[in-house]
């Protein structure tokens, strides 16, 4: 490979406009690094979604693969990406390098990088190394528990009360949970001081208040209207209607500093008399705000303590937790952590490639920064590269701070900046329209100067876009909907027309929020346009899934008659035997009992065979009635259930909650897709439709207002929200905080508009409401101001206000066979699968040699498979009996024939060797010695007496030609096939009887050391009966491996404890 060329690995920051090839830039940088000899595990390339990470890797790998297959392609790619010396040969080397090191590739999400980082520091971070990133649902459960414990503090009620500014809130838990979900991230991102910035402000004592009011009433006023106003003001003050007081009359004029009332100046004396009262209100407002803010802090702080500890304890973290805890670790150990990381990961991180940089949060940056700093140290053969677009910063609510872009540029002056403004996506018409909207920003004039300023700033930062796809057919338009028309109806009609003219083009309908998505989908379906929703919803958008969830709910709550009714009216009812739910159902105890019993069955089935298997069984009943979409969702539910089994609880209702909380994508080929603009980020479509442009920019009154001195610094000032009337009374930094938040929100809203428009490849259809005007603080307002054709329809008449490009673009599109789905015949009729299940037939089991016969043993064929579980457990618990049995067997196994007394020698030592743990060996050996002196056993084990017996038993009436000999095999193991089993086992004592050289019989002797009463005949008989199948199996086995006939194999059960023997035949 070539040597490192400095030019290719400059530290670079790229601003890439929409569609200008961000991924390409990143992939090409990656290839450049490889080409200059950098090892892939020295490169970290991150982005924000796993999908995007996959695309980057695909781009790199397909580029290399194609180049490896075709030198021409390689050269071409080398040229486009400016890779000096790139050809088929180098491509192959690079490709092999990557493929050999697939496990060491570091192309992924920032979150997964952080998770790896954190994992190698688990112990230092005080985490059990088994910690996991868990679903939000589980984190929420921990939050709920922590809230519970915060509320049990004795002063929680006071704090809540103060926080709610004196409201007697109805639900303390709900209030606290809401507070946590809205403010906790802000809380963590702020310094504690930030919440204690307000100084208390004195209020008038009741006496002084009375005298101040008196003072005010006594002043003489010439102007009549002013006098009347004063009377009303005084009334409000006397009633303590302070909000009314500051919003009306003379107070309002004094506060907004006009100091005039109906063009008449307010006399100074009068004004001064108002001031103490105004100051009193200021005190009231300030103190209330201060209490509320500080109580919020205190509650959140208590919450934090419990919540963070409980996450640590459970080893359950969210991605944000990982980032935050890494920041803590880096703060406390600094460079040391980096060194340790390099060691523990085997990973020298020399080259950083960061995608979507505008979405990086300050905390994430705090983790990356030390690495960035290291690679940018001058002279090192390392490099930094980031790419992003501040115009597409729409993840502020997730912590993304686009200003980081500027900041990094400033902090690292050596960074080489580049800007990409040529689109490789959109047609000329689209790009022209985008340019027109954002370059003409000064034409927009709302009544809010703050808004105007933010919009204008866009113009200043906007570089004219160009496109490489000028040859594509393209079209853009803005239409005003008539006053009498329903906006969605018009939109649906337009989409229908596009869809019908070209079913192959992808249409995205982009909205601001989810509720609009739902309504549009419904409207499109009703109009016969197959539309699907992008981005994932809970599976509860399927009727079949809902039925199954209702059945789960019924299983959990047999008295849930809603669930009962729902299921009872479905195909499931018959399968599970659920009675119908009819009027006056509550009066029939028999029916109710039936429902309760169905519920119990449901719970049992779920616990016994699992959620996956149960849901699959139910789904099979519903499947035939399902539409294709329902089927997809139902199958997803089965998949989820299988996944759930590992974490299943005993409550079906928990599963219902799990499903409701889980968003599941429904990837389909549906050409018309509806989604929020946020979900469309990173995607492109032939046609983009924007029907929801009328949402006001003005941010919702957040629950708090806060101020951040610079993008990477923590929040330095927080208060609860106060309205503008109150803000006028309060210190200016509150207004400042408000404005900072307002600007941030507004800027993001305009980013959203930019993202929305730039998703389009060919055509862009935008719609505005009848009553929108060009000065509105909405997207419509900006579009109207900047796109409205001076010669077009004026005023508020419906029709196309703006049109650019070729209205007949669809026809060109169709004629040229363009579009993503052009290769498919008809996307609305997607096939269900390639396989016809009915044709799948395997050969019968009898075909071919047997394989995989199950294993068993004679003992499994008998005792343990009878009796109760209690018996089995108590036997298992009787360790002494087991040990005794084992040792007695071991002793017996030492004996060939008792005639030869040598078995006694060394028996104890042998046992000691084999049972080192056992303490009472001597006593058992003694017991054994006594045992073998009993007549029956003794007769069995003495060769002389045994020979006598056996001759009589084997050959009762035959003449013996040759002497019989008996040879013994103790603990004889065997394995044979019986029917469809492989049976293996060990025979305690096998005696083989030969007549001369010929084997003529064998005897199986089975010892049992069960403790039985000598006189308890029925227990003895039961015991013999229990063991009979086992011994029968031994006989069959012996017959098989010796080749004897079955009746030549004798068997005896020897109850050694009571010296009884039983012949088994």
């Amino acid at each position: 490979m070539t040597t490192i060329e400095q030019a290719t690995i400059d530290n670079t920051i790229i601003r890439a406009s929409a569609g200008s090839g961000k991924t390409t830039a990143l992939a090409s940088r990656y290839l450049q690094l490889l080409l200059s000899g950098v090892q892939c595990h020295a490169i970290l390339a991150t982005t924000f979604t796993r999908k995007a990470a996959g695309e980057i890797l695909d781009r790199i790998m397909t580029g290399l693969a194609s180049s490896s297959l075709d030198d021409g392609l390689a050269k071409k790619l080398g040229q486009t990406l400016q890779l000096v010396g790139f050809d088929q040969k180098t491509a192959r080397l690079m490709l092999r390098h990557l493929l050999i090191n697939l496990h060491r590739l570091q192309v992924g999400t920032l979150d997964s990088f952080f998770a790896k980082l954190a994992r190698s520091f688990s112990l230092e971070m005080g985490l059990d190394p088994d910690w996991e990133i868990v679903e939000q649902r589980l984190i929420d459960q921990l939050a709920q528990a922590s809230v519970g414990s915060v509320l049990s503090h004795s002063d929680a009620i006071q704090l809540l009360h103060l926080m709610a500014k004196g409201d007697s809130i109805r639900g303390a838990n709900k209030l606290m949970m809401d507070t946590v979900s809205q403010l906790y991230e802000i809380f963590l991102d702020s310094t504690p001081d930030a919440w204690f910035q307000l100084q208390p402000h004195a209020v008038l004592s009741p006496d002084k208040l009375v005298s101040a009011l008196e003072q005010l009433t006594t002043i003489g006023i010439a102007d009549k209207r002013m006098a009347t106003a004063r009377v009303k003001d005084c009334e409000r003050a006397a009633n303590e209607d302070w909000d009314g007081f500051i919003a009306n009359g003379l107070t309002a004029k004094i506060l907004d500093q006009t100091n005039e009332y109906f063009k008449k100046p307010i006399p100074d004396e009068l004004r001064s008399a108002y001031l103490p009262l105004i100051d009193h209100v200021r005190g009231l407002v300030t103190n209330e705000l201060k209490d509320s803010t500080e109580s919020t802090f205190n509650l959140l702080d208590r919450f934090r303590e419990r919540f963070e500890a409980s996450k640590t304890e459970a080893g359950s973290l969210g991605f944000n937790d990982v980032t935050r805890r890494l920041v803590e670790l880096l703060n406390s150990s600094g460079e040391q952590a980096e060194t340790n990381w390099t060691h523990r990961s085997d990973w020298n991180l020399d080259h950083l490639l960061l995608d979507e940089f505008q979405d990086t949060s300050p905390e994430q940056w705090r983790v990356i920064e030390p690495f960035a700093r290291r690679v940018m140290k001058p002279g090192a053969e390392r490099s930094f590269f980031c790419v992003g677009d501040t115009k597409q910063a729409i993840y502020g609510w997730r912590g993304g701070v686009a200003e980081l872009f500027e900041l990094v540029n400033k902090r690292f002056p050596d960074l080489r900046g580049r800007e990409l403004t040529c689109s490789f996506r959109s047609s000329q018409a689209i790009i022209d329209t985008v340019n027109q909207v954002f370059e003409n920003a000064e034409q927009y004039e709302s009544n809010n100067p703050l808004t105007n300023a933010v919009v204008r700033r866009w113009k200043d930062r906007f570089t004219t876009h160009t496109t490489a796809k000028a040859g594509l057919p393209g079209y853009a338009m803005l239409e005003r909907v008539g006053e009498a028309d329903d906006l969605f109806a018009v939109v649906v009609e337009r989409i229908k027309s596009i869809y019908e003219r070209s079913p192959n083009c992808t249409v995205a309908v982009l909205t601001r929020d989810n509720i609009e998505v739902k309504n549009l989908i419904f409207a499109l379906h009703s109009a016969g346009v197959p539309a699907s929703e992008e981005g994932g919803n809970p599976l509860t958008d399927s009727a079949a899934v809902q039925l199954i969830l209702s059945l789960m709910q019924l299983g959990d709550h047999p008295n849930d008659s809603v669930a009962w009714f729902h299921v009872a009216n479905s195909p499931l009812a018959a399968m599970i035997g659920l009675p119908p739910c009819e009027i006056e159902w509550e009066k029939s105890a028999a029916i109710l009992r039936q429902v309760h019993s169905v519920a119990a069955d449901v719970r049992r089935e779920l616990s016994e065979i699992g959620y996956g298997a149960t849901v699959a069984r139910w789904a099979a009943v519903l499947a035939p009635s399902c539409t294709v979409r329902e089927l997809r969702r139902l199958q997803k539910l089965i998949e989820l259930s299988d996944e759930y089994d590992a974490q299943a609880t005993l409550r079906p209702a928990d599963f219902v909650e799990f499903v409701q909380a889980k968003k599941v994508e429904d990837p389909t080929g549906s050409p018309v897709r509806v989604m929020t603009i946020h979900k469309a980020k990173g995607l492109e479509f032939d046609v983009v439709v924007l029907p929801c442009l009328s949402k006001r920019f003005t941010p919702r009154p957040g629950e708090v207002m806060f101020f951040r001195p610079s993008p990477t610094e923590p929040i330095s000032f927080v208060t609860r929200y106060v309205n503008s009337a109150h803000r006028r009374l309060l210190p200016p930094k509150i207004q400042q905080a408000y404005e900072q938040q307002f600007e941030r929100g507004l800027n993001e809203a305009i980013c959203v508009l930019y993202v929305a428009m730039t998703r389009a490849i060919h055509a862009l259809y935008m719609f505005v409401d009848a009553n929108e005007s060009e000065s509105h603080q909405t997207m419509s307002g900006i579009l109207l101001a900047n796109l409205a054709n001076p010669r077009g329809p004026t005023g508020k008449s419906p029709g196309k206000i703006f049109e650019h490009g070729d209205p007949a673009w669809v026809e060109t599109f169709v004629a040229k066979g363009l579009g993503k789905f052009a290769h498919l015949q008809n996307t609305s009729a997607v096939t269900l699968g390639d396989v016809d299940y009915k044709t799948l037939k395997l050969a019968p089991t009898t075909v071919g040699p047997s394989r995989g016969l199950p294993m068993t043993s004679p003992s499994q064929m008998s005792s343990s498979w009878h009796g109760t579980i209690g018996l089995a457990l108590s036997q298992a618990a009787d360790r002494a009996a087991q040990d005794r049995g084992t040792i007695l067997h071991a002793c017996l196994a030492q004996i060939q024939w008792l005639d030869d007394a040598s078995w006694q020698n060394g028996l104890l030592n042998e046992l000691r060797r084999r049972f080192p743990d056992f303490e009472n060996l001597e006593s058992i050996v003694d017991e054994f010695a006594t045992m073998v002196r009993q007549p029956k056993i003794s007769g069995l084990l003495h060769s002389s007496s045994y020979s006598d017996q056996i001759a009589r038993r084997v050959l009762p009436s035959q003449i013996i030609f040759e002497p019989l000999t008996a040879s013994v095999e103790n603990e004889r193991s065997f394995a044979v096939r019986m029917d469809h089993w492989i049976v293996q086992g060990t025979i305690d004592r096998l005696v083989l009887i030969h007549e001369g050289p010929t084997l003529i019989a064998a005897e199986v002797i089975e010892y049992k050391s069960d403790r039985l009463g000598k006189a308890d005949e029925s227990a003895i008989q039961q015991c013999v009966a229990d063991y009979r199948p086992q011994i029968e199996a031994y006989r069959r086995a012996v017959a098989q491996f010796t080749g004897l006939a079955i009746d030549q194999v004798l068997a005896r059960l020897m109850l050694v404890g009571i010296d009884r023997e039983f012949e088994v035949r």
């Binding site: 303390a172 699992g610 005993l650 457990l873 080192p916």
Partner: protein, 934 residues
Amino acid sequence: MAKKESLVDRRCWQDWSKPALAAAADWLITRYRHENVLNLSGVIVVTPGARSRNRLLELLVERAEVESLNFTPPDFVPLSHLPEQLYSPQKKFAGDVVQQVAWAKALRDLGPEQLSVLAKNVPENGELTELLPLARIMLALHVDLASEALMFTDVASEFKRMQVDRSELDRWTLLSQVQRKYYDQLSAVGLWDRQAARVMALQKKECRADKDLVLIGLVDLSRVFRLMLGQVASLVHSLVFAADEVRDGFDEIGCLRSEFWLAQPIELRPEQIRVVDRPAGQASAVIECLTELNGKFPASQIAIGIPNPSVASHLRRALDLAGVESRDATGKPLTQSLPVKLVQAVRDYLRHQQFSQFTRLIRHPDCFDWISHRIGNRMWLHNVDEYQNLFIPGGLPLREGFHLSNIDVLHDVHRVVIDLLKPLVGRTRRLDQWAELWTNLLTEIYGSREIDGESATSREVLSACRNLHAALRLLASLPSEWSLEGSAGDALDFALDQVEREAIAEPDSTDAIELLGWLDLSLDDAAVTIVTGFNEEFVPSSEGTHLFLPNSARAQLGILDNARRYARDAYALSLLARSPRRLTIICGRHNDSGDPLLPSRLLFATDDQTMAERSAMFFRHQASATLHIWLATQTDHPTTQQFSIPRPKIDELKMTSLSVTDFKQYLQCPYRFYLSRVLQLKPCVDNLVELPPFAFGHLLHEIVEAFGNDPIKDSTDPDEIRMFFRRQIDLTMERHGEQASAAVQIQFQQVRLRLDKFADLQAQRRRDGWEIIEAEVKKGTGTLVVDGEPFGLRGRIDRVDRNEHTGQLAVFDYKTMEPATSPDKAHRKNGEWVDLQLPLYRHLIQTREYFVSGPILLGYILVPSDIKNTEFAIAEWSEDELHSADEVAFDVIRAVRCNRFWPPADEPPDYSEQWSAICQDDLPERWSPQEAAT
């Protein structure tokens, strides 16, 4: 540190183009057969796993049968037990539980300061149990290293030599100390560490054997094993399955040389590799492969490998639907069995005594049956819901005589549960003493069950009970000197840790296709092998970052590293590919959540051209438009929603009266009205953490009702009234009891705040001459005559006032809603009546004895959260307006009389979530009554 020792060559080469285990059987027979006797009792055979052992035995049995041999099977020894065949341990081994505790004790001995070098947040002089997680890590590290004959000090010195960072070195120095302390702990109680014993036997050259040792395909042995075998080399025969050209890939004992396999190409034909998108697609691809077999192979000749377990469930469901039986060789995790779930639920409830944990425990099917049997009733679950809804308890203590209000059944349930759990409650004891008590619990619930060998459930329960029991008994092995104490839950945790990875085998069946893990595949001799999930991370697996031993260090120390993992899998794949079989390999592009997967590196162990082609095939692969819906077993499916909204079934007149609040519901949606008022359907929940709005309102109502019925109602002293309210609140709180959740207690305070304020207004109102003449008219009834027929009207009136001066009546409803809404706003939208409650009160009050005709004031008493807005809000409706309200009411009555409850309103009304499933509110493809009709 032990150096690599060279061994005598013990390899017996077997041609890998023949089925491996058949070749092994052949070899054994050839070598050990004497005439018609095949006596292998003097041979120890070691295979990589139980599966290959079983198959080898099966093959031997088959051959013995065919050739009429008198066959004695060999002594199959599991690999992990092999060392103990080669030496005699002198002392008793410490079991896993003992080892864990010994490590924990060793760690505690370090002292908090030293310990903090290893881990943050270690409890200072904490319980041993809190150190267990760290102890388990130490133990794993110890086993990992010791099996390679390495001590922690060896690592420390190696790191020193490698000049790793000071802080990492310090950690290892500390770890070495801990390891010494660990050994001390064990020897103090006369126990031995198994790994240490092996190393000791090695060092003392104690290894002996009196049998032949036959190793079958053991290509990856740890150093200790290799060295021990080296000491008995003359008896060792290592059967290696390979071809001539790869002989250099093995060392003298038949273990893989990583370097060789890293560079070794693996031959696969293009048609053997399939790339598909998601796990569901992998399942479909398997079905496709099976279809292509054209019915030539029985299930027993087919094996499916599942390296990535997330494919398994898809596959099984798909096979089920295709009517193909399958058997998961890994079995079902023991932790998913009912007995384990039972003890877990008991433990959780014992630990925290939360009400929610109680509700889980009682829903355990076996616990539920047991309780039902004990109390002689199976219909009691709803009582638990009721109790929860009424009292919103936080905890539910395990004490007898506990206050459970008047819900008798619940009393019984709680009592029997206490009975069951009593032995396990409270106290710390020596851990082993809990074992029997837990077993007793299992016996109580399961003991009387008959074992049924034919039933999968019965086998599962038996197996789980036995395993749990055995695991609990391990606690007895803890040295008594350590007197380790804890709660019943702590004891159970030890046992559960032991059974965590255990599985319950699925029933055997020769009619089922076996689903195998990757490791079992290579020696398997199925004629058809399909390997799914052939992706990096699964085949081969690799370790990324490590807390203590990164890959480079592992490589340096010569222990299991990524190269060895690769070599192992490369050899396994070569074996699969070279032995005679139909092999298909399926690679996924994405997982279930759509995240990208990487292809296995093994696929690229080939020449440049093939490598490029394969990577193009993988990375260019696009999801096809085919939706892999294995659930679709038929080819045509309906195109419109078939699940319908059930039509009202009602023939005769059911409703002869309505309550005043019913009208609003009917006006919102006649169908939902039908569901809630005619059918009287009610949803159930039991997860309230605080009083929901209606219950909060109810609470407040109760108190003002008491006020309205007490002589104090005529008081004009706000303080007196306040005192009354507060007393009432205290009484109600007492009724809720100590277990009320914190949030509920706060809600009581909220009620108090509101009523404090209301007391002022009430006193004033009395001073203004308004007296309460009736409060909470429970069963107000009236009649409306509509179209000449009377129709009943029902309703409760919160409060009726009469002015003592004018005699005028005023009817009020208390409202706590958020935000406070005036009566008119609540009753009319855009000039239309949407609620008729207040106007209809006029008709109810007519039957009261104090009624005198004349206009009646109607209004709300608003007691909202923003107490500034507390007020008596009077509706100012004219007589005409009220008449128009009556007309609307008449229309509703007419509709109800002819049972008109259909169709449902298009838009779901606010707060109608409970009907959303029935009414299909959330469906894009909603069922439409019109379409259904056509």
